[in-house]
Symmetry: C2
């Protein structure tokens, strides 16, 4: 991740196009508040839709609403498709329903369905009935938004296999307006069942009289509408696809998913994974979510973590007598817990990634333990040595320094061995049980290793030091 | 992330194509060892190149090498492009240089440069001289592999603006073999400087006699070859591009980046982020990396973490007298450290993501502190209450339970407030200093909050409990 706007980013913009900077946001905000509609629309015309969307998200809501509704419907539609989070629905509320209908009519069917799903039910129903492709959008609304059906669009070009290249090209032309991105033409039988695909390149390079069925690719990938969007992303990425047809159980072509939608899915899923690893249960906290929503996403894990860590506290309670005897032992508790967590999260990250990408199978994973143990051995020796040097030089335990150094270093070494293998094993066990192994990487690793680290440490310390 | 192979995944395969399963791997392994070349090649023919690559990565190395060199050069080239990690170079070593040259000649220039960069220098130099597009590959080898120059390919169709649609189409046809994926034709001036782009759709739908300069898009995105690949991914994703030209300082067209390369970049970068967050310094640990490489990636952070956590140990040392007085206080140490880390990593994850995606600017971020404080307040109250109930019911501290419960709950509450704001602030400060804020999310958060948590806890406990 990187945040700074590089000089390249500026330089690589198409000439004449503006970049959204804090000062541009301030300027536009003032212009909107001053009611300078003409000047604002001039600036908006120099922004690509995704940049205009970014500008809106950085403006105060009132100014964003005002600007958005100054835009011609076509531009408003393009911008709306690029906006994420609650702002999208907020921009449409309190506007005339006729204008909202016109704006949503500008959207691709998949975006239209997404927007309607975010609007209050009453408003959504009212608008839906007025849409040009109401039936398509209605159908799309029936799919779970995280599935192939939820991300597919119905804008596509389909032709019978008996048509010629010339006829198919004419069909592309007829649909050129509604189907903006087109990478392939779908070939269907009289029952609308998908039977082949024809790339635009083949269409361009073939003779006008050639017949589609002679040119089409009969071997193609497809998904059913209930496939999870993450799986869709994996398939399109694995096979380098830019367009993937969605087909129902009887083989009928329902829609198509394009690579740009999937790129967003891949980014969203990566962000969700990182949020889940960080203990945000819902995995989809938005910057502009309410305090209540944010808390609802974060609190469950914190409470669970608290319970786990209270158990770690109980472990310590069992050794209170030892601590009373040698209170210096308490100083090493944070070292043992933190290092157990640090070592475990490294090995679990690698295992989880390997499992998720399909490069590692649960069957292979046990075989990896040998390597993890070897790595843990090397790192454990280095860490134990470093700790021993610190303790004996700085003299934590007064006169007992060397003895203390040996005991805590040995504990650290054993904890590194156990925590590393623990981190590599838990995700595999979870995967075998059908649980998403990514949850293992979250604060779960930290808490379970707090308990492990403290138990091992106190067992060794009480038997060797006291 | 999800690991289980869904029934859909099986069902959605093109008919006749095989799926790579552990039992298929076992079967192929036996067939290779038995020298059943014909049967193995039959199976390979039923696998897509990415699946065949997956099969190879799961086979024992000797069997993978054998199988790979049974493949005809065209297939071997396709598979090689799909293989990741050290296996790719390993498959080429010990093979006849003439065969290696033939295989690499099958690759796109960007893949060829990647593979050569992984081979031993001597071998790479020997092979490079024999390649058909040696000059292109040599140039590509000069770019850093994480930049636009490193991921671009030189396979593209470029035409002068004076040409007609018919001539441009002929040029596409002439290059159809080498340029497999084609989404747009690039338009250049006599000095090879990029002046426009023409989508395949426009080419298909325009009259044969129309002139390119009348049809081409003069407003397009481009990058210079030194732009970081992550930035390339962000640009292509932000603007929904499938093809992005790479242009040098004088405007000359050098190559093009296609969306499938960028999809891989987005996934790799997400994996790198997760690895860095997990304390793997290099961010690119491979499953089949050597113990030495793995340790080298993991040990630096562990050593740093050890030093940080030794400082946390020193904090405890300062309060040894208090601990000797009330050894029960030690039982709450893991709670304070773990909960500080858990709360901080949540708020820092959101801040880092917001900054990385451009949805949050460093200027806005301070304004977010109010919300983070509100969330921390709500969560802090819930957590403090829960801890108080546990402590007073279970009676950690013997007769002093209620008093102890109040003191530790108050500590926890204050620690949650501080750690949450700390987690949200540190990434912003790092970003302002020009440092990648993702490093803040790593075990850094855990360690720094260990110190914070213990200090606050002992200050409160010594003044209110003792």
């Amino acid at each position: 991740m990187s945040v700074t706007v590089s000089p390249e980013e500026q330089q690589d913009r198409p000439s004449g196009m503006l970049e959204v900077t804090p000062s541009l946001v301030d300027d536009v905000c003032e212009l909107v508040e001053a009611g300078e509609r003409g000047m604002v629309l001039n600036i908006a015309a120099d922004l690509h839709a995704p940049d205009l969307a970014r500008l809106l998200t950085h403006l105060p809501f009132e100014a964003a609403w005002e600007l958005f509704h100054w835009l011609p419907v076509e531009d408003a539609g393009e911008v709306l498709a690029e906006i994420e989070g609650p702002l999208r629905a907020d921009l449409l509320e309190d506007a005339r329903p006729e204008r909202v209908t016109e704006i949503i009519d500008e959207l691709d069917s998949d975006d239209a369905a997404d927007v309607l799903a975010e609007l209050p039910d009453d408003l959504a129903r009212q608008i839906l009935t007025g849409l040009e492709d109401a039936a398509d959008v209605q159908t799309l609304l029936g799919y779970d938004e995280d599935t192939a059906g939820g991300i597919m669009g119905t804008e596509l070009v389909a032709v019978p296999e008996s048509w010629t290249v010339e006829e198919a090209t004419e069909e592309v032309r007829r649909n050129a307006e509604t189907v903006e991105q087109i990478y392939a033409v779908f070939v269907v039988d009289p029952q609308d069942r998908l039977v082949g695909m024809l790339s635009l390149k083949t269409l361009l390079l073939s003779q006008a009289r050639s017949v589609v069925s002679d040119l089409m690719d009969r071997e193609y990938h497809w998904v059913s509408p209930d496939v999870d969007q993450e799986e869709v992303g994996r398939i399109m990425q694995h096979y380098d696809l830019v367009s993937l047809p969605v087909v129902n159980a009887s083989g009928r072509l329902l829609g198509r998913i394009t690579i740009d939608d999937v790129v967003d899915v891949i980014r969203e899923e990566a962000e969700e994974d990182i949020q889940r690893m960080s203990g945000i249960a819902t995995g989809n906290e938005e910057l502009d979510a309410s305090v209540f929503l944010v808390s609802r996403g974060r609190l469950p894990w914190l409470l669970l973590g608290l319970v786990g860590t209270i158990m770690a506290g109980f472990v310590v309670t069992q050794f209170e007598a030892s601590l009373a005897e040698a209170v210096v032992l308490a100083s090493f508790m944070p070292i043992m817990t933190a290092m157990a967590g640090n070592a475990a999260i490294q090995s679990s990250a690698i295992t989880v990634q390997g499992l998720a990408s399909g490069r590692l199978w649960t069957g292979d994973a046990f075989g990896r333990l040998g390597k993890e143990l070897a790595v843990a051995f090397v790192n454990g020796v280095a860490l134990a040595f470093t700790l021993a040097v610190f303790v004996s030089l700085i003299g934590f335990g007064g006169g007992n320094s060397i003895h203390l150094a040996l005991v805590v270093s040995l504990s650290l070494f054993i904890i590194i061995l156990l925590a590393t293998t623990n981190g590599a094993l838990v995700p595999v066990l979870l995967a075998r049980m059908g649980v998403d192994p990514a949850v293992a990487m979250g604060p779960f690793v930290t808490t379970s290793n707090d308990i492990l680290g403290l138990t091992v440490y106190f067992l060794i310390a009480t038997s060797l030091y006291l």
